[in-house]
Structure formats: C-alpha cells, structure tokens
Point group: C2
Chain length 252, copies 2
C-alpha cells in the first residue's frame, strides 16, 4: 500500500469536515500541512507523525508527501478548504508530470474535496454566489499581476460575482484596492461586498461593506472577500444574487 | 423554534455529506427537495415528512419551506451539491426580500454549505481547478442566452478554467456546443475537458475529451463539464492547472 491522500479539510470546524476527509486523516500514519490547520483537526491527529514545513516550502511539502507515500507510509497532505482550490493538489500533479521520480509510480493518489472558504462565507451571508461566479487569487507571488488584472477585468466585463482569495499578506497590501478600482469600472460603488475571516473557527467574523468603500484595512491574510455582481442585493443581514426567478414570482 | 435549514448535501455519497448537513437533516421534521436526492440520504430521512415538488416548481418549493418553518416545523430545504451554488438558497432570500410575508419574520435561517459537483469532478480528475476559475450555468431558462454568452466570452478573455453546470436538459441541447465555439476563439482545440456524471453515486462516470471534440452527445442533464485554461495539462488519468510553481521546481 503506497497511498497518498490529498485532503481538503474544509474551513476548520469539525462540522464541515466530510466523512471522507475524516477517514483519510484517520487512515494516515503521517500528516503534512500547516500546524495551524493540523491543530484544528484535534484528536484526529493524535499519535500520527506531523510534518510541518514553513510557508513558502510548498514544493518541498509536495515532494515530501510523494516520498513518504512511496516509502509505503500512508500519508495525508492536508489543506484547509478544498485541496484542489488554491491549495496543494495541483502542485503534486505538476511534480508527477514534470519531475517524476521512479518510486512515485507506485503511489496511489486520492484527492478528497472539501468545503472552500468562499462557500462558508456565502452560506453565512445568505446566497451571494447564487449565480455565475469566479474565484481569483490576488497573490502575485506565483502569477504575474498582469495576468491577475486581465482576469479581474474579464470578471467585470462578464459581470461575475467574484470571490477573492489571498486578498492580502504580510508583504502584499495593494492588490485588493487595485482589484476594487478595476471592478468599479463595471459595477456601482454600492455593490455589496462580504468579508469573511476565520469562518467556522473560534474567532469567526463576517462583515459587509460596499465596493466603493472597500479598503486594504478591511482584510488580512485570513480573509476571504466576495464582491457581488450588478444584481446582488443586500437586505438586513442577508445578501443574495438572484438567478432570474423574478418573472416567476407572484404579482403582489 | 421556527427553523429553516437550507442544506447542501454534497454530490450524493454519504462520505461527502458534512456533519453539519447530517445534523440539519436529522434535526428537521420535514424535508423539501427532489425525490432523487432525498433518496440518496437513505435512513436519515426515515420518519420525516417529505415534500417532493416537481421540477420547475422552485418558487413554490421555496415558499413552502418558509411556510412550514413559519408554522413552527423545523424544516430542511435540501439541494444536491452546495445549496448556494446554482441551487435553492438564493430563491429563498429573494422571496424574503421582495415578497415578504409577516409570518416569515419569525423564521431563523441557517444555510449549510456542501461540496459542489465541480469539486468532486476536479478531485476525481486531479486538480483542474488549481488556478483561477469560474462557474457558469448553461441553462437559459432563467438567464437570457445573451448574458450567458457574455460570460463565456469573458471567461475566454480572462483564460479562466470554466466549470459548466446544466450543460444540457431534455429541452436544451445546443448550448454546450455554442459555448465550446466561443472558448475555441481563446484556447486551443487540444484543451483538456473533464466530464463528470453522477459523481460519487453508484453509476459514477468520469471522462476526458478535448475542447475541439466536445459534443452535445457527451453530456446529459446529470453531467458537469470542466474546461481547462491555456495552462491545463493532462497526463495519464490526471489533469491539473498549474499555479505557477514551475520556476520553483528543481532543474532536472
């Protein structure tokens, strides 16, 4: 058995950890991931060897996962959210494709999807992702900013609801406001914006603002930002993006 | 207690039903949803009253959910996948916003997110959603086709990976090929395409094709289609969209 699970553990709370993810972690002898997220798994990690590599060591983390599994150790590479959305899964496959090592051939991989941050933010706020949407990472560490700008512009032109991942980090602080300015060319300043932080964890916070007022001071590296499209409405504590049922509603 | 859960049950298999969704269904006295999906919940629905309204009766389904909860009956409105992604949640909030009834004020709503079809398709295929992506419904029953075309064009211009929901129905069969033709203006005919059907259910199927060869005959109303972007690669049974780690890989 040379098994590698690539696991999305969801946003953090046990209530959003799927049974498949629970089983993958429980089955594994060794876990690879950030300490912050492994800690959220609580007793499930007891007795398992934990490999906690620092931020920035993503390639090493993916290689280590493949090596441990190739050595016959059932291993889980754990990401928060969904392992396939702005997380570790794609790097494992890139290594397998571009820099395969003979011993990796034996590894059986299972990717376990999970609830991503935008889904929890949307659920807490109502249904802002209720119509066509896109997900964009604002981190330009790996992607040229020009590419990111092209995508934000396209999201504006297509009037997509937008979920921004990685809106800010310790070293990056201007990207969100540049993104805001691009979207303001296509949708009004009053467009509802939802900001989630640490959703489903002890210090969960959900806030609203409007696109025209969105500031870098509203976010940090644990934030997830959803920008409504031109149809998104907010009322009271709820926001939603209609799908077009209006013509089917009764005449009052 | 006037509680309404709006629940995403995931793609179907119990292993992807979150504990939060399990608890919401277990707590509820009455369930509202399609029979197909309620059946997949198995024994969890035993002893609970089921309201199965026909396809097309979405407004009635959302109204019924609010009415039952307002009557003091703990109720779950159940969608497959994520309740907030091309599903029922947004319609409940639209009714609350535009056609509120006095008795609905008492209803406490909790939206429970779930694993959406694109996430399972992506996990089965590797990591095709590994970089910026968008989700577009190809159903023009509620959304004018012109709006959908604008979004597909924007997805092409922004080079987003695209997840197409509702690629075909009994009455709609041409939309997928029109979408394909638009995307072919922006990405090559060899672009990897993943087609998932009934993922996580007994007759699960996952297939690959290329954008230039994608045909309406490849899909039905239970299919989910993921179109790679210009970077997406397929090798063997896997497909992935790199995030830009290439420059960090070792020189072989």
């Amino acid at each position: 058995m040379h098994k590698l699970y690539i696991v999305g553990m969801g946003p953090g709370a046990a209530e959003y950890l799927t049974p498949a993810a629970h089983k993958a972690v429980a089955d594994s002898e060794e876990l690879i991931g950030y300490g912050l997220y492994l800690d959220l798994l609580g007793e499930l990690t007891t007795g398992k060897r934990r490999h906690e590599l620092p931020l920035g060591a993503e390639v090493e983390r993916a290689q280590l996962a493949l090596e441990r599994a190739a050595a016959g150790i059932t291993t889980a590479l754990v990401s928060s959210g969904d392992a396939g959305i702005f997380a570790m899964a794609t790097l494992v496959f890139e290594l397998l494709d571009k820099q395969p090592r003979p011993q990796w051939r034996e590894v059986e991989i299972e990717v376990v999807p999970g609830v991503s941050a935008m889904q929890v933010a949307a659920a807490r706020a109502g249904a802002p992702l209720g119509h066509d949407f896109c997900a964009i990472s604002l981190s330009n560490l790996l992607t040229p900013w020009e590419t990111i700008e092209t995508r934000i512009t396209a999201a504006g032109q297509g009037d997509f609801v937008v979920a921004f991942y990685n809106p800010r980090s310790q070293r990056r602080d201007w990207q969100l406001e540049r993104a805001r300015d691009i979207l303001l060319e296509y949708r009004p300043a009053e467009t509802p914006v939802i900001i989630g932080r640490n959703l489903s964890r002890a210090d969960e916070a959900l806030g609203y603002t409007q696109l025209g007022a969105l500031s870098r001071d509203d976010v940090d590296m644990l934030s997830l930002v959803i920008i409504g499209n031109r149809e998104t409405r907010q009322f009271g504590r709820w926001a939603y993006t209609p799908r077009g049922y209006e013509k089917h509603l009764e005449t009052p």
